[in-house]
């Protein structure tokens, strides 16, 4: 399902090159729930960005459902992302000018799959317990509610791969449990492969597969 081979990322900075990821190989089977753990600065986000087709690797390849992401052209990769990968970012990531419903429907609309997009978005928001907030702007919702909107958006295109980079680090424990519950339900009920980056070892313990990153490499 997800295969990385010899994946490396080196950032060019003013103080010379910084090797954030060095030759990572990993495999996550379809429908699995994998957790990536590691200290701050170990390179987890850099790895996730390459896996998700958001940041070009310096070397190596990423295959999602058999497609070599980085051999695609930019627009084909964008389309692939829209159809196959859902993201939950580390930070607030809703468009402030759009209502919850439109934010969720956005990936389908951008991909030219507008037919029924809003109905689907509404159903997902209901599922996330946000039926009363369809018309709310992001600024009118709590952090936990916003995060649930983001999860709904990540799932709206029925992705095969769901990537979440520390989706709960800024939330209280109870909300964290709710959010994790939603992600795990997506993984179990929809069969979506879930890759989660977390600091929280207790959360990682719930995963079927734990990938430990240290200093840009995967620990055995």
């Amino acid at each position: 399902m997800l295969i990385c081979e010899g994946l490396s990322k080196t950032y060019d900075t003013d103080r010379g090159p910084v090797a954030a990821i060095r030759g990572v190989d990993l495999t996550v089977n379809a429908g699995r729930y994998a957790a990536i753990i590691g200290r701050s600065g170990s390179g987890k986000s850099s790895l996730m960005a390459m896996i998700g087709g958001l940041s070009r690797p310096s070397a190596g390849c990423v295959k999602v459902a058999g497609t070599d992401l980085w051999s695609l052209g930019a627009d084909a990769r964008a389309r692939f992302r829209a159809r196959n990968i859902g993201y939950v970012f580390q930070f607030a990531s809703l468009l402030p000018t759009l209502r919850a419903l439109d934010n969720v429907a956005l990936p389908l609309l951008l991909d030219g799959r507008g037919q029924g997009a809003r109905e689907r978005a509404a159903a997902l928001l209901e599922e996330m317990g946000l039926g009363a907030h369809l018309d709310a702007f992001p600024s009118e919702m709590s952090a936990g509610e916003q995060r649930r909107v983001v999860i709904a958006r990540a799932l709206v295109g029925d992705p095969v791969l769901l990537l979440a980079d520390e989706p709960t680090s800024d939330l209280d424990e109870e909300t964290e449990r709710e959010i994790m519950g939603l992600l795990e339900r997506a993984n179990r009920a929809r069969g979506t492969t879930l890759v989660l980056v977390t600091h929280n070892l207790a959360l990682a313990a719930q995963a079927e597969q734990v990938i430990q990153v240290a200093d840009g490499a995967v620990a055995p």
Binding site: A74, F89, F91, S93, L95, T97, L109, L110, Q115
Partner: protein, 410 residues
């Protein structure tokens, strides 16, 4: 595909909403473009109106040179429309024999100033101007109203100050004439009250004039005229023609007036092309300003643009969103600009044009189609300014990897 248009609609909505996020900034951008468009639109219309008015004016001013008897008085501001009345005359065939080279057209005129014509109360002095409708190129261009059909032997044309209506009867020395046409204001008082008729009709009045006045005015003899109006052939030099004329006919005076007008015409066309360059520069600098503004806007929003890319927006959509936002603002500026320009034109009409018309200088507005075309051109230019200005910043953003944009560095 209905779905693709759905995506475009969404981008248009996003662009519009983005404009609404910073009302003051958007307002300033719209105002800046509106200012340029207003100046461009009003300027273009006024310039082109002046240009066409001038060219009409110049064609009306027809004559480059006037040939009159040596002792005739000349009135330079008469703009070489008609020969001044005087009792001195020239032979009618003066220019027929050995016609000087460099002359394109020569129009003979007979001008009689009389207070016995029978017009008005006793003693009204009237200039009767006899011209040859076929050779004439100075009188007929001034006609503003005329009856249908060609001018006949019993027809007269009256100056603008005369109140006689078209088609009414006018009796000259006992002979009834029909008011066939009316001249527009020439700015020369004697012409405003003049009565213009064909030379032959004027000559036909000679017996009646002789019985009424007791003498036969010299220009009413078939072989004499008051003078000639000349138009130079293209490329002919005024000085050479004048010299050639004077060397053959020592008894004449040659009056010029054209060179000044030619100078004005050349100066005006230089001014016009200068204005065109200025307008282009103005739009260019507005485009640069839009570019600066939008590279700031793009960097302010790079996290959002990165997010859009992450969830599937393609490069064209990123560029489209940003360029559309800029074009909406600048096109709106263009619309406001054209409206403001139209108000400026109204103001101009009430002030300067009004005075010009009062002074007898014709001012012809650009016709509606050309005016609409100018407005359309301004709108297109305004929209282009947004497109060109926002293109480079959005192109650069569209090339970045989503993760770099989202992280917000660089």
């Amino acid at each position: 595909m209905a779905d693709a248009s759905g995506a475009r609609l969404l981008l248009a909505r996003l662009a519009l909403q983005n404009l609404g996020r910073r009302r003051i900034r958007t307002g300033l951008l719209v105002a800046a473009v509106a200012l340029s468009s207003a100046i461009a639109f009003a300027g273009a219309v006024i310039m082109r109106s002046i240009e066409s008015s001038m060219s009409v004016g110049f064609s009306r001013l027809g004559a480059d040179l006037m040939v009159v008897p040596l002792d005739a008085l000349t009135h330079l501001t008469a703009a070489l429309l008609v020969v001044e009345p005087s009792d001195s005359t020239l032979p009618a065939d003066l220019l027929a024999t050995g016609k000087a080279p460099g002359i394109a057209r020569a129009a003979p005129q007979r001008v009689l100033r009389t207070d016995r014509s029978g017009i008005g109360t006793h003693g009204e002095s009237v200039d009767l101007i006899g011209f040859d409708p076929l050779d004439d190129f100075t009188v007929q261009p001034w006609i503003t109203e005329r009856l249908p059909g060609a001018m006949g032997p019993r027809d007269v044309i009256v100056g603008s100050a005369r109140t006689a209506r078209l088609g009414t009867e006018l009796v000259l020395f006992g002979t009834p004439f029909r008011v066939y046409g009316k001249l527009s204001a020439t700015g020369v008082g004697t012409h405003e009250r003049g009565i213009f008729l064909s030379s032959n009709s004027l000559l036909a009045l000679a017996p009646a004039i002789q019985t009424q006045t007791g003498t036969l005015p010299p220009m009413l003899r078939p072989d004499r005229v008051s003078g000639f109006l000349l138009q130079l052939a293209p490329g002919a030099r005024e000085l050479q023609v004048r010299f050639a004329l004077l060397s053959h006919h020592p008894q004449i005076k040659v009056v010029a007036g054209g060179s000044l007008l030619t100078g004005i015409r050349q100066g005006l066309s230089a001014l016009l092309s200068g204005a065109v360059v200025l307008v282009a520069l103005m739009f260019g600098s507005t485009a640069v300003m839009v570019g600066v503004l939008f590279s700031a806007i793009v960097s302010e929003r790079r996290a959002e643009l990165g997010l859009l890319k992450a969830i599937g927006a393609r490069r064209g959509q990123i560029i489209g969103l940003t360029v559309l936002e800029a074009m909406m603002a600048t096109a709106a500026g263009g619309v406001f600009g054209v409206v403001a320009g139209a108000l400026l034109l109204r103001l101009f009409e009430r002030s300067l044009v009004f005075h010009l018309t009062q002074m007898g200088v014709p001012f012809l507005w650009l016709d509606r189609l050309d005016m609409a075309l100018s407005a359309g051109l301004c709108l297109v230019a305004a929209a282009l300014v947004g497109m060109v200005g926002a293109f480079i910043p959005s192109l650069r953003a569209s090339r970045r990897e989503p993760y770099d944009l989202v992280r917000g560095d660089g």
